[in-house]
Subunit: 424 residues, 2 copies
């Protein structure tokens, strides 16, 4: 802790007037995005690669430059700490991840981590001391594109699965998480989950189109949708398209199309947060002049509560049973995975809402349709998220983009929500 920048005499009104340095934050984002930069303007910095090590080193250097202390745990999660007045209090934590998809963008994850660093830099600039310590975390392997499961670091931290399970995960080249952590020097000594957390905030691009569509700056995230994933197989009878009259066909694809439509219909019956997607389809034998004998496809159902997701799933299954009976074709629906819905803590949600209102940013309640490290943190402590718009709702793509004013706004909301929770 750099005592020189501390100034306990800042008043409450002064604190309300504090704003982060948007240009500094933007510049840090652009500098980090150089590591693994792709020709199309994106970033490829897969978890636990040399590039990930470079990224981690840079972020930790910035943290140390801001007077923070660093702890690494056994799964490589990093905690950068700015002491408070009362260091017996659990820290108010913010964070996200800095690993990217193979053709990822500059903002997903990285924004949440660097917004935390910018909050600390701003506190330092204004000599603001907080009651509880402030911490900024980055979690290992949120993306899951090199190693599964996704949200690995926060998942181990929240004991969703064991450290051993995570260590054993291998990439397609056969390298394990443990050996790669050791290789890049990011296998720490702290037991994951030992770290106390007073509250957790995560700032993130929305990765969806709602804020942009509503021309709103801040999404006050209420929670994360529950998800059920199913594999569905319709079995018909492969036959030649020419010699087989319509009445004697068992066309698996035609039957499947009705069920694919029902997936969307079920979502539309359970507004506003119901979502139904068929993203993956395989037709067998997939030949122009052969009637499909088998069709496999994925079903992705989401909604704001587990009960609603269950209702949607029940409706889709009932439709499938009826369709199977009518068509005479067997239909199998098998759940392959599921994630419970996770409401964020009212205190944190309200802190985000209050900060946005105080700062004069247009804001609206939002839900997260995708998983985030904050979901695991919400199992351990009060948690909340701040969304900002991203261009066309696109992420996991090199063209992912966000406006500097939104980047700044989200970080200002983070600053004031954290200050409310940490106390000044």
């Amino acid at each position: 802790m750099n005592e020189a920048v501390m100034n306990p005499k800042t008043s409450a009104a002064d604190i309300d007037a504090v704003r982060i340095d948007g240009e500094r934050l933007w510049n840090s984002l652009m500098e980090l995005a150089q590591i693994g930069a792709t020709p199309k303007g994106g970033v490829c910095r897969l978890t636990l690669t040399d590039l990930d090590k470079q990224g981690r080193d840079l972020v930790l250097q910035w943290a140390r430059d801001a007077g923070m202390t660093v702890t690494i745990d056994k799964i490589g999660n990093a905690f950068m700490r700015r002491a408070g007045r009362n260091n017996a209090l659990p820290p108010i934590v913010t964070g996200s991840h800095i690993d990217t998809q193979p053709t990822g963008g500059k903002f997903d994850g990285n924004y949440g981590v660097l917004a935390g660093i910018e909050v600390v830099r701003t506190l330092n600039d204004h000599g603001i001391e907080t009651e509880a310590p402030i911490e900024v975390a980055f979690w290992t392997n949120e993306e899951g594109s090199r190693f599964v499961p996704v949200m690995m670091g926060s998942g181990v931290f929240a004991k969703a699965f064991t450290l051993e399970h995570a260590y054993a995960a291998k990439d397609t080249a056969g390298k394990s998480v443990k050996e790669e952590l050791e290789r890049i020097g990011y296998i720490g000594t702290e037991e994951p989950g030992q770290h106390p957390i007073g509250a957790y905030f995560e700032t993130h691009i929305e990765q969806g189109p709602v804020l942009e569509d509503n021309d709103v700056t801040i999404g006050v995230v209420q929670g994360v949708l529950g998800i059920r994933w199913f594999d569905c197989t319709v079995t018909g009878m492969e036959a030649h398209a020419g010699p087989t009259p319509m009445a004697l066909r068992k066309d698996a694809l035609q039957v499947a199309t009705h069920l694919m439509q029902e997936v969307v219909a079920a979502a539309l019956r359970h507004k506003p947060h119901g979502r139904g997607t068929v993203g993956m389809v395989q037709v067998f034998p997939n030949s122009r002049n052969v009637i499909p004998g088998r069709v496999q496809f994925s079903i992705d159902l989401r909604n704001a509560t587990d009960a609603l997701v269950d209702t949607m799933a029940d409706e889709v299954k009932a439709f499938a049973a009826k369709l199977s009976q009518e068509s005479g074709l067997p239909i199998e629906i098998k759940q392959v995975s599921g994630y419970p819905a996770q409401a964020f803590h009212p205190d944190c949600v309200d802190a985000v809402g209050r900060a946005a209102a105080k700062l004069g940013y247009s804001n609206m309640p939002a839900v997260s349709g995708a998983g985030h490290d904050a979901v695991y943190m919400a199992q351990l402590a009060p948690a909340g998220m701040i969304f900002i718009p991203c261009k066309d709702g696109i992420s996991h793509n090199e063209i992912e983009d966000a406006k500097p004013e939104h980047i700044t706004a989200g970080c200002n909301v983070l600053l004031h929500a954290m200050l409310e929770r940490a106390g000044t």
Copy 2:
């Protein structure tokens, strides 16, 4: 010609009573099926391979044993001739092909060729002399699985494309039709198409389920359905399944399902021969939690006349235009190929019907949904086809099967239809 077996004194009544030797035909089918036999009971004898050469050699040996003379043309088509009383008349020809699919069966094609051999053996047994000569042909590369185009030998013969075009076709190993014909010694000297044809009959398993479903022995084939093949692309917007609410989606697959259903609906509106098939589907990016941004699929439309196929195509296109307007998603439909409908000659169709009736076999009018060498022959001379049931309508499969009594029946119909046309 073996003069010893000729007996010009056979009466018309005697001739009506003549039947082929079903066991001999069956045994020949089983013997030929040994060449390239697969463990699952099928045959893999791809065109112009060593196995094809062995098959060709065996069939020609049988022809010579039956006193026939052999001509090979430049594309490897073989014509096995039994002289008539008036050899100035164009021959009455039957035939098919002996090449198979990679996982083909014992009957597709082979039956049509060996039924012709059995007709000649039967004429010999009974000392029957015909007015016009009788010929049995096998056509090179009907299947098209090693070299495209399909129906290559009959296509060159009918001048649907040139000999040079066929010669230049290469397999995946880079070997050309011409070098493979030379290598196996089946590049003849006769100009393809020089051979006169008085009439053409082809006996074939139905490759569809209609005869079996109606419990009928003989299909009197009226013609071959016209075909149009299209490639269709629906373009939406790829987006994450989680964060994207239903109202803001441009789900290419959901739009595509409606058009896939219209393909079937168009066929059902144009009974009894309308057929509509979507056999091939590709979804992009085909990921479980990504809303499909693009879907490509094939459309196969068939009907008994070209006008009906055109009407179906127009209806599907109009539906697509409306769907595109309603959904706001571009839909492109592009014709990739088409084959005109081909009606068989009434004289040949009637000859088949009369023979089936005379022999007391249950029979019904049939259409061929698939292409056959007979389609090209129908462009050159009166032509007709005889269908027999195959098990579950399955062909192009190692489990392809046909009953010996149907094999026998079809060959008896061929015998009497050919005798009617050749004159005795």
